[in-house]
Each structure stands twice: as C-alpha cells, then as structure tokens.
C-alpha cells in the first residue's frame, strides 16, 4: 500500500490515465499496477510518488430517493454509485473501491478528467463520494490535448481548487434532465401499459421531446405537401462549335402560356451579346472545426453519423493526435503553438509539402470563426505522428481535421467570374463562367472543397449567338427534405437544444425508441402520437423556446451568473404543471399511445401487397404449432388467399418498401448482429434467383456422382 506523501490523479478513462502517467512521470517511466484486476499507474515526479487512477466515465448517477418504478411523479433524488441502478455498470463497484482505497492516505488529490462540464462532474462525484468527501481540498488539471508538453504544463500550473461553476452546471443539467426524463417517460409508459396491458418503453426528455417535435413537424409538412407546377426555359447556344447552356432571366415561370410563348419566340433565333462583366471574387478560408461542424462535414463526405464521429474523434484525442473534440470553439489561439504543430505535421508524408509552405511564411495567422468555448480551442491536430496504424475511419477523420487546420492558415481563394448578357427577341439570357486565379486555401483542403471551373469562349458586346433550341419544361415545387443525422444536429444547434456532447446521443435514442426510422428520418406513428399528446396537454415541455431558456440558464451557472437551486426550482415548477395535466388525462393518453403502438407493430409486420390475390397484404406471421415465422396474406383469415412464403428463422426482418423488379414481390431485409444485412425478394420462385437455384442443382448432381 502507498504511504504518506503521495498524490492521486483522477483520469476520465484508462487510456487517458496511461498517457498522463507516461507524460508527467520522470523520464516518461511508469509502473502499471493492479487493484482487484483493475489497472492504475504509479509514477515518480521529482522524487514524489503519484498514482494515476482511471475512472470509466461517470461512476455515480442519479436515482430516485425511494420507492418503485411504477409510479409518478418523482421529485426526490439522490446521487448513487452507478452499479446500484445499472446492470451494465457492474465494474464501477470495483472502480469505486479502488478510489476509496488508494485515496485514503493520499496527501493531494487532483481531478484530471476532461476539462468540461462532464469531466468536472465525474471528478467531483468521485472526490465527494469515493474519496471521503475531499472535493473541497482537491485541485484541478486543465488541458486541451494529451500531449506531453500540455500535460506537463497543466500539472505545473494546477488550479488550486475544483472548477465549481462547471460542477454546479453539470449537476443541475443531470438533475433537471433526470427529473424530466423519469417523470415524462413514466407517464407515457404507465399510461400505455394500463390501457393495453402490454409493456413498451416510451421515453421523452427535456431535449428528446423538442428534438422529436422538430422531426414530427417536418414529417407533417411533407405528408401535407402539394406540389405546384412551374416552368423553366431550357436554352442552348452553339459557340465556336461547342454547346453552352444559357440561363433565362427568370429562374421559373408560373404560367404555362408565358413559358411556351418565350420558347416559341426565341427558338432558332439569334441572340446579341449586350454586356460582358468580369469580377474578381475572393473566398476566405473555412473556419476551424468545432465539434458540430466536424460532425456535419464528416456526414457529408463519409456518411458517418454524429455519434460515430464523436467516438472516432475521442479515440484520436486519447492517442494525443488531436485536441479535445467536445468543443464549440472555432478559435485557434497562438498559445497552441502553430509552428510546433506544423513542424510535427511535416513529418507526416501527405502533409509535408503543405506544412513546409506555411512554415516558410513570416507570420502565421489562422482564419477563425465566431463561436467560442471558454474551456477549449477549436479542434486541431497536435502534430504528433500516429504511433499505430490508424483504421480507415480514423484516418479519414484525422485527415479531414489536419486539412481543415492547414486550410485555416491559407490565403483567400481568388476566382474570376464572367457574366455574359445576351438579348434575344426582347428576352434576356445569361452565360456564366468562372476561372480560378489563385487556389489559396482550397489547395490544402482538397478533396473536400469544390473547385470546378467553367471556361467561356472569348465574347464581346455585339457578338451574334445562334440559339440552338429553346424549350419550356414543366417542373414541380419540392417538399422540404427530411432530417438526416447531420441536418438534425444543425437544427438542434440553431435552436440551442442540448449540448455539443449530448446531441449525437439524442438522435440514437429516437431510433431506439422507435420514434423515427430510416437514414432520412421518418417519424413513426408512435413518434407522432407522443408529440400529439404532449402538444395537447403540456405544450411547454416540448417547446423549443422553453428548452432554450432552460439551456441558457444552465449556461449561466457555468459563468456564475445563476444558481443551481434557482434553476432546479423553476424547472420543477414547470414540470409539476405538466404532470398534473397529463395525470388527469391518463386514460385518454394510454388509449392513443396503445393504438399507435399497435399500428406501428402492424406496419412493421406488413411486408407489402400480395401479388397473388392483389387485394391482401403480405404480413409476417408466426405458426401457432411450430412457433416458426413465415409470410402470409392478410386475406387468409377471410378465406380468400392462401399464399404463404418462407422466411429465415434468425435475424431481424424489416421491410424495405421496395418491390422486386423481376417478379413484383416485396423485398425484405434481414439484419444479424454478427454479419452484414441482406436484402432479398420473398418469392422463392423469383426469376432473379434462377442462377442460385442452378448452382444448388449442380451441387446436388456433384453429390450424386
């Protein structure tokens, strides 16, 4: 056992603990030790012993003070070890015991969890509950990267006490979210259970509710959308033997006759060039990455969900390759050491040329965005070359971050845009061209930026242009697009719903609860009903305005402008009003939710129309005799159709809403936990399967031989 003068450093995760130990220990040496099969690290620094002990995120959570799980409202709560309420968190018991034991005789305790609201709260709860109530005497290490230099600097400049404003903000966020989540979720779940006698987990929370409302509102807009026709003029001209598309003066014409009249008037005629305007346009570099922008850009280029991007970015952070990713800052202060980072990046082959070009400059000044974060700068590469081979996804995200960082130091890109105005029979058409004069920052950010040129032939005023063909084409107005994970994140940011750290998880929960489905988020019947119920009886709970106000109050706690107690009291008052309303309508709410749950289950079972009888629906059924699942026609029960089709007995079968092009039967998808999902036509006699049948016959023949 360690004795007398030694310090305990609390790290947020085991990887971070090892990196801290390897960075601040004398000579980079450390000993990996074990306590009940859990590892921690012992180092010596200037002769003094230090134990770096890892947590695994939060070790404590909120639980109701007493009572069971089948009632509401619940207003009393307490912080408890996580293993007491979450089966999956069993290992936190040993972790807490390790902290209790190792901290008992320590002369100094330091919280070195990530410097943000969550990290501050993780350290605080461990210090308060596991380290014998020593949170007031503990110190805080503040850093933005896990590099040796940053960690040593942070250790030398320890904050004399914990960041209590961040701790208070974290506590209030957890407590308010817990109060809303537990009560509203129980109202919905219990109401549905009492009506249908079937259990379905329904949840709604302070952030989840308004987010779902955004999706439901958009879905309602799409389902009520009526396209309206309009017309476009498609004109082409032949100049020096090459075909050019011309733009008509009006983007769209609302009357068919007007469009047809323009087409008839200009078709086969000759236009005259009336003006040629050239303009130099500069475009400044893109601002450095905050978490939201990184998530959106990664979805755009790689199709990664925000949650996946955060996980990858955290792995890169733990490897000390990038700075702390949970940041909302778009600032790159000089203190991060631009030249050091660039010198590091020049050791990585793909970036050598770019880094050299920037290092050759006298002064380095990055483009910065407006967003700020008091705790961390924007996401930037540390310049440290990777010590291991990065996975494909890690290398894509890392590359994107490096290129964005380099681009921030680039000069503006300069383009020459040309607009040629052509008159034809009283109508005006335009030709647009663009040429890149100076690539500027786009050279660093390729291939993540468009830099296509459109070169025009040399034209001057008075030139005659023969119009090849002019036609009016009919188009329709478009419904608004459905949200995808990236655009939803953008909407949440715009409305200030949730935090940078929690937004990605909310999207995942909406899928898990069955409120939305598909990559382009379609609100389900359950999602619609949950919002309808809350909108009818307690609209404030899911109002974006209410959530934003609460969010602002909690941000004020971080800046010491508001007290946790006030925010809790106000939030509880609003919640009580909502719960009274919901409680008095429990029966009606239960019936609405049960209906939606049954309808959704029926939809999930419906595979598509029955091609055999033409009127029934093919649905997934289970045999009462064998318990095996198969597909049957809904008309079977009316004695009209006996069509049945086999299904694989393992895996999750989902409908695709697509019809087989070869035979007209529906296509389904089967997902397994350990292999790639497959899509197939449910018709076993489908002509598209002929080659597989032939192969299996050949196999049979071989066996017979």
């Amino acid at each position: 056992m360690p004795q007398s003068d030694y310090a305990v450093i609390i790290a947020e995760k085991p990887d971070a603990a090892e990196r801290i130990a390897a960075s601040i220990g004398d000579g980079g040496e450390y000993i990996k030790k074990f306590e009940d099969r859990l590892s921690y690290f012992e180092i010596k620094r200037q002769g003094r012993r230090i134990l770096v002990v890892p947590a695994s995120g939060h070790l404590y959570t909120i639980s109701q003070f007493r009572g069971g799980r089948s009632y509401y409202p619940v207003y009393t709560f307490t912080w408890v070890p996580k293993f007491e309420v979450e089966k999956k968190a069993a290992r936190t018991r040993q972790m807490i015991q390790m902290f209790e034991k190792l901290s008992r005789d320590a002369s100094e305790l330091i919280n070195a969890a990530d410097y943000d609201v969550e990290g501050s709260l993780i350290g605080y709860t461990i210090l308060k509950y596991a380290c014998h109530g020593r949170e007031k005497a503990a110190k805080r290490m503040r850093f933005s990267t896990l590099t040796r230099d940053d960690l040593n600097y942070a250790y030398e400049k320890l904050m004399p006490h914990l960041d209590f404003s961040l701790v208070e903000a974290g506590r209030s966020r957890h407590e308010v979210d817990w109060l809303y989540g537990i009560n509203l979720s129980r109202v919905l779940t219990i109401s549905a259970l009492r009506d249908s006698k079937k259990y379905t987990t329904l949840s709604v929370g302070r952030v989840q509710g308004p987010t779902l409302k955004l999706i439901v509102q958009r879905e309602a807009e799409i389902r009520s959308f009526i396209p309206v026709p309009f017309w476009k003029i498609d004109a082409h001209a032949k100049i020096n033997g090459k075909d050019y598309a011309l733009k008509f003066e009006k983007d769209r014409l609302e009357h068919k006759l007007d469009a047809e009249e323009v087409a008839a008037r200009c078709s086969g005629e000759t236009g005259i060039v009336r003006a040629v305007d050239e303009k130099k346009v500069q475009r400044a570099p893109l601002e450095p990455f905050d978490l939201g922008t990184l998530q959106k850009e990664s979805y755009k280029f790689f199709g990664y969900t925000p949650r996946r991007v955060l996980t990858i970015a955290e792995r890169l952070y733990l490897d000390a390759l990038i700075s702390y990713p949970r940041t909302s800052s778009q600032k790159l202060p000089p203190t991060i050491g631009y030249r050091n980072i660039l010198s590091g990046l020049r050791k990585i082959t793909p970036y050598r040329g770019f880094a050299d070009a920037l290092l050759a400059r006298g002064e380095l000044r990055p483009r910065e965005g407006k967003k700020v974060d008091p705790a961390h700068p924007a996401i930037y590469p540390t310049g440290k070359p990777p010590e291991r081979r990065l996975s494909n996804e890690e290398s894509k995200i890392y590359g994107l971050i490096v290129r964005r960082f380099l681009a921030a130091f680039g000069t503006p890109t300069v383009r020459l845009t040309t607009t040629v105005s052509i008159e034809c029979k009283g109508c005006r058409f335009f030709l647009y061209g663009r040429r890149i004069l100076d690539e500027g920052w786009t050279a660093f950010y390729k291939p993540y930026v468009e830099s296509e040129e459109a070169i025009l032939p040399p034209l001057k005023v008075g030139d005659r242009i023969p119009f090849k063909d002019v036609a009016a084409s009919m188009h329709f107005t478009e419904p608004p697009p459905r949200y995808n994970p990236a655009s939803l994140l953008r909407a949440m940011e715009k409305h200030n719903i949730g935090t940078k750290a929690t937004r990605a998880d909310i999207t995942g929960t909406l899928y898990e609860r069955g409120y939305v489905r598909g990559e382009h988020m379609v609100a389900t019947d359950i999602g619609f009903t949950v919002i309808e119920v809350l909108n009818r009886y307690c609209p404030s709970i899911i109002s974006v305005e209410f959530t934003r106000q609460l969010e602002e109050k909690m941000e004020q706690i971080e800046s010491n402008l508001e007290k946790r107690g006030n925010v809790l009291t106000e939030a509880t008052r609003g919640l009580k009003l909502a719960l009274d309303q919901l409680n008095s309508r429990e029966k009606e709410i239960g019936r609405l939710l049960s209906e939606a749950i049954s309808a959704e289950a029926a939809k999930r079972r419906a595979v598509g129309p029955c091609p055999e009888c033409g009127t029934g629906k093919l649905i997934i059924l289970r045999s009462r005799k064998t318990g095996k699942r198969f597909i049957g026609c809904s008309n079977f029960f009316a004695g009209k159709c006996k069509k049945t089709l086999p299904l694989p007995q393992k895996g999750l079968v989902t409908t695709t809403e697509k019809i087989c092009e070869s035979c007209g039967y529906p296509i389904v998808m089967v997902k397994w936990s350990n292999r790639r999902p497959i899509r197939f036509c449910v018709n076993i006699d489908c002509p598209s399967k002929a080659r597989y049948v032939d192969k299996s016959k050949k196999g049979e023949r071989r066996e017979q031989v």
Partner: protein, 70 residues
C-alpha cells in the same frame, strides 16, 4: 365517429390531418388553375400520381376520386 380514410377517432367525416389536407387541396387548386388550364378531376389525378405529393394529401385525393366514382 371515425375518419373515413384512416379510421382514427374523429368528430367529423375526416380526422384533423386529413381535413387539413383536404383544405390545402382545395386552396392549391386555385394556384394550379392560374398556372394552367385544368379541371378539378384532372387535378386530383395529377396530385394522386405525383411522387412529390404528401401521403395524407394523396389519401384525400384518392378518397374523393373513389367517392365520386361510387
């Protein structure tokens, strides 16, 4: 009483969603008429077959067409 289209409980022939869609259908017909020469019947057919039409509106268009035929 239940909605004649989706069987959802309603105090009118159509539920809230489908009533609203019906209203929109009538309102938008004026815009179609101003854009081109079109009859109410042809408009309903166009709306029913247009892939951009929202599902609630499509259901209402189908309902009106069927009702007229029967």
């Amino acid at each position: 009483m239940r909605c004649e289209i989706c069987s959802k409980e309603s105090d009118k022939e159509l539920c809230g969603r489908h009533s609203r869609a019906h209203e929109l259908l009538k309102e938008t017909f004026k815009r179609w008429q101003s854009a081109m020469e079109i009859s109410w019947e042809r408009y309903l057919e166009e709306i029913r077959s247009n892939p951009k039409t929202g599902s609630w509106v499509k259901e209402v268009a189908e309902y009106i067409i069927k009702k007229k035929k029967s």
